[in-house]
Structures are given as C-alpha cells and as structure tokens.
C-alpha cells in the first residue's frame, strides 16, 4: 500500500513537492542505516552526517567533472590550482565514482569502528568520538576551498549520462530510483535483523559481555554493521545530490548529524518502519514550520527530542504497537466473555479442589 502511494505520488504532487519527498526518502535510507546500529546494536553515532556527506561528495565530484567535461572545476581555478588533484582522478568515471560513494564512507566507518570497538570504547564514549569525527571532517572540508569547494560545496551540475539533470523527467527518474533504493534497503535491513545476525545484534545491544562469554567476538560484528550503516548513509548522500544538485559541508555538521538521530528516535528505534516514518514526519514538519517560523522550529526540535526520549522512548511505532495490542486485547476480551461466563462453574470446582488440597 505504502509502495503504491509512493509510486503514485508523481501524479499527485507538484514537481517541487515531489523533489522534497524524494529528498526525504533519500534521508530515510540513511535513517534505516542509523537504526541498524543504534536501534538494533545500541551504538549511538552522532557523526552519520559525515558518511552521508562523503557519499554525496563522491557523486558530486563525478557530476562536476561531467559538467566541466573533465576540465578543472571553476573553484579550483580561483584558488590557483592548475592540475586536477589526485583524489579527483577516480571520479572521472561513473563506474568508479558511484561504488566509491559507498566504499569511502564504509571504509572510514570500518576504520573508526575497528579502532574504537577493539579497545572496547562503547556507549557515550563512542558517541563522543563519532561527534568529534563530524566536527573534524566539517572543519577540514570547510577549509579546503580550492580542492573541494569549501563553504560553497560543489554545485552547478549539468548532465548525467547525457541527460539534463534539472529536467523534470530526469528528476522523476531519480525519484523512482530513490523509492526503489529505499525498498531494497528496507528488504536488506529486514533480512539482516530477522535471523541469527539480527539476534546477535540485539544481544550485543543488551548484554555485550554475555555475548563475549558465549564465544562470539562482538568486534567484528559491530565493525561490520557500522560499515554497512555508513555505506547506506553514503548511498543516501548520492541520491540526495542527484535530486538537490548541491552538497555543502553543512550537511555533515554535528547538529545535522544529531537531527538524524531524532528521525529514528521519533519514528521508533529497533523497528524498520519507524525510522522511515520519523524521517518523513520531521522533515515535512521542518519544511512547513521553518518557512514561516524559523525560530519556532528550533524550539520545537528541542521539545520534540525531550518529549520523545522522556515520554515515548519507543517512538511512534511504540504507540502504534501499544494501540494494536490494546485493540486486540479488547476484542479478545469481548469475544471471550461468554466463554469465561461458562467456565465459571468449572473454575469454581478447581478452586474447591485446590482448597481441599491445601
């Protein structure tokens, strides 16, 4: 049903709204990845914007080189760089650039994860490190004006595989691509969390030492799932750049990275529908409110964060589950009242027997 609605959306929404929805669906891919490590494995990463940004930059570098026809991008010229820097070279080829958009974030995550998890840094300590990573990367990207565009980021793309990137047909194709990718990601995550691997992730979240005592080494699993999550964030970044046509270091910044956690928290961690729901809800809310009351939005975010953590730690999906259970219980109770009345007599007999035993 949801899939049909998403597939029908291009018929109902204006190009602008469709662009927004597409962008938020790309975010939802990242949210699923974040949920894998936070909701299921209990590792809170406050630097997922970095992986998103790296993926986005990889795609942006390819698109930029296609736009300039392999020549130097204009911002390099301003800074007096005369030759294409070595790390731009792979991005002349699509077959290298797009896989790299997932490999680079995954590799960075695996490296940080390996060093952190093997020395058993966990909980808030890891969160601090991931946050510091975001800060460090943003500072680095901001300062490199000549190499990767600095504050302005990379923008002004023209074509992709010969099609005009701003054409509404191309954008529609990107929208469908995003929906398909999200669906695939959902299936992948579902496959990962249902089954032995998923059970192990939950076990690491709830009692890591016990997992260790049972003979598993959690380090490998944690690094693996962290890298997967980063790769998904990179993928989301690619889809973001295709639809927005711009990537700046702001997208990697610490506040933005923590905002991503709210999407998951509000929707419901350790569920797979929740993060998607939360992402769409928060972003559309932000879009509606921040246009008219930018100040209100920041306050609302804070209140939402606080209320969500304090009063509904399981998020919206937790509420939905509770409601479902309540309805089910009521239905069962009303249908079982008659049976219960009949069984009163038999119940009474058991009671007398019990009494006599005592």
């Amino acid at each position: 049903m949801v899939i049909t609605a998403l597939l029908l959306a291009p018929l109902l929404l204006s190009d602008f709204r469709l662009g927004l929805l597409g962008r938020f669906l790309a975010y939802a891919i990242l949210a699923l990845g974040l949920d894998l490590i936070w909701g299921y494995t209990g590792i809170l990463s406050l630097g997922h914007g970095v992986y998103f940004g790296l993926g986005a930059y990889c795609a942006a570098m390819y698109l930029k080189l296609e736009a300039t026809g392999g020549k130097l991008p204009e911002f390099m010229g301003y800074s007096g760089i005369e030759q294409l820097p070595f790390f731009w070279q792979p991005f002349r080829f699509a077959w290298l650039a797009f896989p790299l958009a997932m490999i680079v974030p995954a590799a960075l995550a695996a490296m940080l994860g390996y060093f952190a998890f093997r020395s058993r840094i966990k909980g808030v300590f890891f969160s601090i490190l991931s946050q510091a990573l975001a800060l460090v990367m943003v500072t680095l990207f901001l300062s490199q004006i000549g190499l990767i565009g600095g504050t302005n980021g990379i923008t002004n793309f023209k074509t992709i595989f010969g099609h005009d990137i701003n054409d509404s047909a191309t954008q529609r194709a990107f929208y469908f691509l995003t929906v398909a990718t999200l669906a695939l990601t959902y299936v992948l995550c579902r496959w990962l969390v249902h089954g032995r691997f998923g059970k192990l992730l939950l076990a690491i979240r709830d009692a890591e030492n016990r997992v260790r005592f049972t003979g598993y080494d959690p380090v490998g699993f944690k690094v693996f799932v962290y890298a997967i999550s980063a790769a998904l964030a990179g993928l989301a970044g690619v889809l973001f750049v295709l639809q927005v046509g711009l990537i700046t270091p702001t997208e990697m910044d610490v506040p933005h990275s923590i905002r991503m956690v709210l999407w998951v928290a509000l929707g419901g961690r350790a569920t797979l529908i929740g993060p998607i729901l939360g992402t769409l809800l928060v972003n559309f809310g932000e879009n509606a409110l921040s246009e008219s009351y930018p100040a209100m939005w920041s306050l609302m975010m804070g209140v939402a964060f606080l209320a969500c953590i304090l009063f509904m730690p399981r998020g919206l999906m937790g509420l939905v589950n509770d409601a479902n259970r309540w309805i089910k219980n009521r239905r069962e109770r009303s249908s079982s009242t008659r049976i219960a009345e009949k069984s009163v007599t038999s119940h009474a007999t058991t009671e007398t027997i019990e009494n006599s035993v005592v």
Binding site: L129, Q131, A132, T139, S143, A265, F305
Partner: protein
C-alpha cells in the same frame, strides 16, 4: 621550532588547555559521577557568559564607579545561574533517565536546543560584547615573540583557582567525600546511608556551576551569542575521553594533552588539518590506554 616559537606555542597550549580545563572540570564531575554526557553543558557556559553580560550592564547603570569590579562580582553570579539551571535539569530530566546514558545524551541535546532558542529570544541573535575591565586590558611583553595578554593570564588563574577549589571541595569537605564515595561505588555508598539522590543533585549543580564560570571567562575572548558554548564543547568532551573519567588529575592531564596536541599540530600544519591530526592522535592513544590517561582502577566489567 626556535626558542621564541617554542615559548609562544607553549603559552598558547597552556592558554587553550586552561579554557578546556575550566569546561572539562564541570564535565568531569557530572560525567564522572553519573556517567551521563550532558550535551547542555555548552549552554550552561552560554548562560554563564550572558550572566556576566547582565552583571556588566547592571554595574554600568547602578554602580558606574565600581565598573572595574564587575568581573569579580560576575563569577559567583555566573556560577549560581548555571548551577540553578543544572539543578533544574537534573531534577526534571536526568533523574528520570537514570541508567540510560545514551538517552540522557539525546534528551540534554534537546534541552540545549531549547536553551539556545531562549537565549536568542531574550538577548537577540546578534552577539553582545563584554568589555574587559581596564586592569585586564594590557599585556606583558616577554621576549621577542611572546606577548602575554592579561586576559589570558586571568583565565589561567581562574582555571587554577577552580581546580584548587574543586580539589579542596572533593577531597577534603564532607560533601565532597560523599560525592567521591558515590562515584566509586554507588550501591555501597547508598548502603552506608548516603542519599545518592541528594549527592547526584548537588554534584550536578556544582558541575554545571563550573560551566558558568567557564562562560564568564570566555566573555574575554570573543563576543557572546547563543553558540558560544558549542565552540569548545566537543573538544572538552574529548578532554574527558582522553583524560579518563572520575578524577581531577585526569581532567588536568586531558586538558593539557588536548591543548598541546592542538597547538603543536596547528603550528606544524594548518588549523583544520591540525584538528584532524589531533583527532587521529587521540584515537591512536586510546588503543594504548582505552580508559584514558588517568584510569580509575575498577574490577567491574562495565
């Protein structure tokens, strides 16, 4: 590095280290005691900075003759404002999230967003300036390349004063010893009749109050806006990670370590690349000592 550069680098490292120490002292207590990261710590710094600004305005309008002394008066005021905020935060939010450190982190992040917005509503989104008193305006020229502004020396003095104060408070006063007892073994302390709830509330307010003093000191370095706390806060968290949790020595070691690393790398490379290298150094260091420079010995598994 010649001797002049060495001296100025050393001074910069000490100066940065003392700022980080001021902020991390508060964190060392709140984090050391309750194992929660208070993301709103940066906003307590902001509250202290604005408290200094308010004191300055108050002195300007009521006691223009004593304007030089406003900074001294603002230190206890900033402490009280931030401590009150901390007490409120502990009573309303943190107490409810006991045993869920990651959730506390996120909830306090929400609080920090709210406080920032409040500050923007009250004081406007443009930065406000605090004039350093005249007696802090000058500087000492020590040698060729080393100019020591009085403001920086004052910040170092405040940091040292706070460190000494905390040392006496934690290790010699009765309340401080209770805090230590709860830090070391919460269950046992509770069995021996210490009200861990009261200790939590008290320690959290004291830690937050120190953030207020840090804010007061930061007014001398830059203008104050709602983001003044966020500038140093992540580095201060790194100080706690690098230094180790639960002791003042750890906070000092971590602050000096971060100060030296940042300054040296920045001198050798660029400001941004320096931060990357500092981060890499901290990660590599944690491979060797995962619990930080000064680790508290414990047989507990978690």
């Amino acid at each position: 590095m010649n001797s002049g550069a060495l001296a100025s680098n050393l001074f910069n490292a000490l100066s940065l280290g003392s700022i980080l120490l001021l902020i991390a002292l508060g964190l060392a207590i709140t984090f050391g005691l309750m194992r929660v990261i208070n993301m709103a710590h940066g906003e307590f710094i902001m509250a202290g900075a604005y408290a200094t600004y308010v004191t300055q305005n108050f002195f300007q309008s009521k006691f223009p003759n004593f304007i030089g002394w406003y900074l001294i008066a603002s230190i206890p005021f900033a402490f009280c404002v931030a401590a009150l905020l901390g007490w409120l935060l502990e009573a309303t939010v943190i107490r409810r999230l006991y045993g869920r450190p990651l959730d506390t982190l996120l909830a306090t992040w929400g609080v920090s967003l709210i406080l920032q917005q409040l500050a923007r509503t009250i004081f406007g989104s443009l930065g406000v300036n605090v004039q350093s008193p005249a007696w802090l305006g000058g500087n000492w020229k020590l040698g060729e390349s080393l100019v020591v502004p009085h403001e920086r020396v004052f910040i170092m003095a405040v940091a040292l004063g706070c460190l000494a104060g905390m040392g006496i408070f934690l290790y010699y006063s009765q309340v401080g010893r209770r805090i230590q007892a709860v830090m070391q073994n919460r269950d046992m302390a509770s069995c021996l009749g210490i009200s861990t709830r009261k200790v939590d509330a008290l320690a959290f307010s004291v830690g937050s109050g120190l953030a207020g003093i840090a804010g007061c000191a930061l007014t001398m370095l830059s203008s104050i806006d709602s983001n003044v706390g966020t500038k140093y806060i992540i580095d201060s968290f790194m100080v706690v990670v690098l230094g180790g949790v639960g002791s003042l020595a750890g906070a000092v070691a971590g602050a000096l370590g971060m100060g030296v690393l940042n300054t040296v790398w920045e001198y050798e490379t660029t400001a941004s690349l320096g931060r990357v290298l500092t981060f890499v150094c901290v990660i590599l260091f944690l491979q060797w000592k995962p619990q930080g420079l000064v680790a508290t010995r414990s047989r507990a598994l978690d």
